[in-house]
């Protein structure tokens, strides 16, 4: 039963990814402006253009190009970047760790902040504190990450310049990274200065991404907590002498977290989508920032590679959330 569900989910995931590949391929091909012409110096002959077109396969029919490209993708060959003249796979995988670290930190911040506010709201239910928290989270929710980023740039760039507002790590730090997971590697190598510097660069972009999700978690989790707190098992816990806070944390939280998790999964993909503009805003050298450069430079193979990677990331996260939901719910696990 469970196996069949997983299989169906994997199949739909594959169809979705194939759809994404088709859409992005068509989009990129109908773009006006010849990227090959842009690569060559002025005065290049038609012969030169034709040669280069043949090298990149642009002289074949769209269907042929698609099949060749897709065949490569399946084997892990995403083509070669036109502007950077390096394999797309290499470039994209080089930037992915930065974006993953950023999104993970943002997710952790959102869960911690949203969870904290939800617990306080549930603890203070029926009071002015709850109303105030509801109004605040409602407002925070309606303002997107881009605007939060700008607000942080203003506050920390001008008013209170304690955090850096651009880049990923202090360029003066002397370290040769073997991976692009700066925090992870810094921790493993005991270079706390690297970890600190990376974190201080990441804090503001991560916070911009985290705030709307935190507000959403705060609202939804609080609602689910309040629901759980009317259940008989929480009443019984109160009779057994547990304080209201203990009842929330020990009895209600796990029950309330399950329905919240389903939503957080979808929202996490939106959060990752938000890294595109937030990385741009903070000049953070991640995948999203590279994607915008690729679009501006009409670097077709690179755009295709990045979009496909994002899409794969989104669908895999949704898949994992669905599976973990099943795993964490004891009623479904045995069912």
């Amino acid at each position: 039963m469970l196996l069949k569900t997983v299989f169906v989910r994997l199949l739909t995931t594959a169809i979705t990814l194939f759809g994404v590949a088709v859409v992005v391929f068509i989009l990129v091909r109908v773009a006006p402006g010849n990227p090959i012409a842009m690569m060559l110096p002025p005065g290049a002959t038609d012969q030169d253009i034709a040669t280069l077109n043949a090298v990149y396969g642009f002289d074949k029919s769209l269907a042929e190009q698609f099949i060749i490209w897709l065949g490569g993708v399946i084997q892990g060959d995403f083509g070669t970047s036109i502007t950077l003249r390096q394999p797309v796979a290499e470039l994209v995988l080089g930037r992915l760790p930065a974006t993953l670290e950023l999104s993970t930190l943002a997710l952790l911040l959102a869960v911690a902040l949203g969870g904290f506010v939800a617990v306080i709201g549930a603890r203070k239910r029926g009071t002015g504190t709850e109303v105030g928290l509801d109004l605040t989270s409602g407002a925070v929710l309606s303002v997107p990450d881009f605007l939060w980023g700008l607000i942080f740039v203003l506050v920390f760039g001008v008013l209170w310049p304690v955090l850096s507002i651009s880049g990923r790590v202090d360029p003066r730090i002397d370290i040769d990274f073997t991976t692009n997971f700066y925090i992870f590697e810094g921790l493993l190598r005991g270079r706390l200065d690297v970890v600190g510097s990376t974190l201080s660069h990441m804090l503001m972009p991560a916070m911009s991404l985290a705030l709307p999700l935190a507000a959403m978690i705060a609202q939804l989790l609080k609602q689910n907590l309040k629901e759980a707190l009317t259940q008989d098992y929480t009443t019984l816990a109160r009779v057994r002498g547990f304080s209201e806070t203990a009842v929330i944390l020990r009895e209600a939280l796990r029950n309330a977290a399950l329905p919240t998790l389903a939503l957080v999964g979808v929202q996490f993909t939106f959060l990752i989508g938000g890294t595109v503009i937030v990385e741009r805003l903070f000049a953070f050298e991640g995948l999203g920032n590279m994607a915008i450069d690729a679009v501006i430079n009409r670097d077709l193979p690179l755009i295709q590679g990045i979009v496909l990677l994002f899409a794969a990331l989104f669908t895999v996260i949704n898949l994992l959330v669905d599976l973990s939901y099943t795993f964490l719910n004891p009623r479904l696990r045995h069912g």
């Binding site: 759809g19 029926g126 409602g138 309606s142 309040k226 679009v295 501006i296 979009v307 989104f314």
Partner: protein
């Protein structure tokens, strides 16, 4: 749940009317600024004067009378640019939200009402669309279609139709199962007519609430596209291009970023509060 509402302290901010009127007031101000821009803007938004570059706003030392919110790096008046920027912001939000709403709601109604293959195709398309990072998708679409107002509006509609399609599909499915649709059909109404006469009016409140939300989103998307220099020609005053410039000059002239940011922030917050308020007012369950 019920006991909480009765016990909540009465706060003016939780009053539904207040939550409708406050955002309407701000949107009214912005709309008035947009309509009356040539009359109320103190300066030409495009006029450059290098003698007056980076003037601070009125409350700081070194400000010039008449340049209330200061000037940017090219000596252009920030207040006048915000007022003219409101025109583009409101125009884009109105047209883009309407286009997106019509397009997405139509697909949602069809998928929810007819089911079967139509539903399967539309739902699969929604899945594919949701797998794209929206900002990157927008940037890519505008790059493909070329910069300009039309491209920006088309890009918003082509990306965000899924928001309408998903919500309206679900609501249509609920409505289509209700008795009144059956009784209308027994009465001889044709299927398509039922869709328009019976179901559409019932999902209309959701469409209107989503439209408000979408208007706020459209303003943001336009600002993001301007920020990466892909919206309309960079000479035109848009809040996004002002913000992009302000980001670059943050250490020299923070006011170039601050004031358009406030305008953008208030507008987005107003639209979404209005959408939320309308949803609550129309929703018979919440009422």
């Amino acid at each position: 749940m019920a006991d909480v509402t009765t016990n909540s302290p009465r706060l003016i901010l939780t009053d539904t009317n207040f939550r409708l009127w406050l955002p309407l007031l701000w949107i009214g101000v912005i709309a008035a600024a947009a309509l009356l821009a040539p009359l109320i803007a103190p300066h030409d938004p495009l006029a450059q004067d290098l003698m007056l570059e980076r003037l601070p706003p009125f409350f700081m030392d070194g400000s010039e009378p008449g340049y209330w919110l200061g000037t940017d790096s090219l000596g252009r008046d920030v207040l006048s640019r915000i007022i003219y920027g409101a025109r583009i912001a409101l125009f884009v939000s109105l047209i883009a939200a309407t286009t997106t709403g019509i397009f997405g709601s139509a697909l949602g109604l069809i998928a929810g009402f007819y089911g079967g293959w139509a539903d399967r195709v539309i739902s699969r398309l929604v899945d594919i669309w949701m797998a794209f990072p929206p900002v990157l998708f927008a940037v890519l679409l505008v790059a493909v279609m070329g910069t300009g107002l039309g491209s920006v509006i088309a890009a918003i509609a082509l990306i965000d139709w899924t928001r309408f399609a998903r919500v309206i599909r679900a609501e249509t499915m609920v409505q289509a199962r209700m008795d009144y649709v059956d009784s209308a059909r027994i009465g001889g109404a044709r299927r398509a007519a039922t869709l328009v006469s019976e179901i559409l009016p019932n999902v209309m409140p959701s469409i209107i609430a989503l439209l408000m939300l979408e208007m706020g989103i459209a303003v943001i998307v336009e600002a993001i596209l301007s920020f990466v220099n892909l919206s309309i020609s960079s000479d035109d005053p848009t809040w996004g291009s002002m913000i992009a410039e302000g980001r670059g000059a943050i250490h020299f002239a923070w006011w170039v970023l601050l004031f358009p940011l406030i305008a953008l922030f208030m507008t987005v917050l107003s639209f979404s509060t209005l959408g939320e308020g309308l949803k609550q007012r129309f929703d018979p369950v919440l009422k």
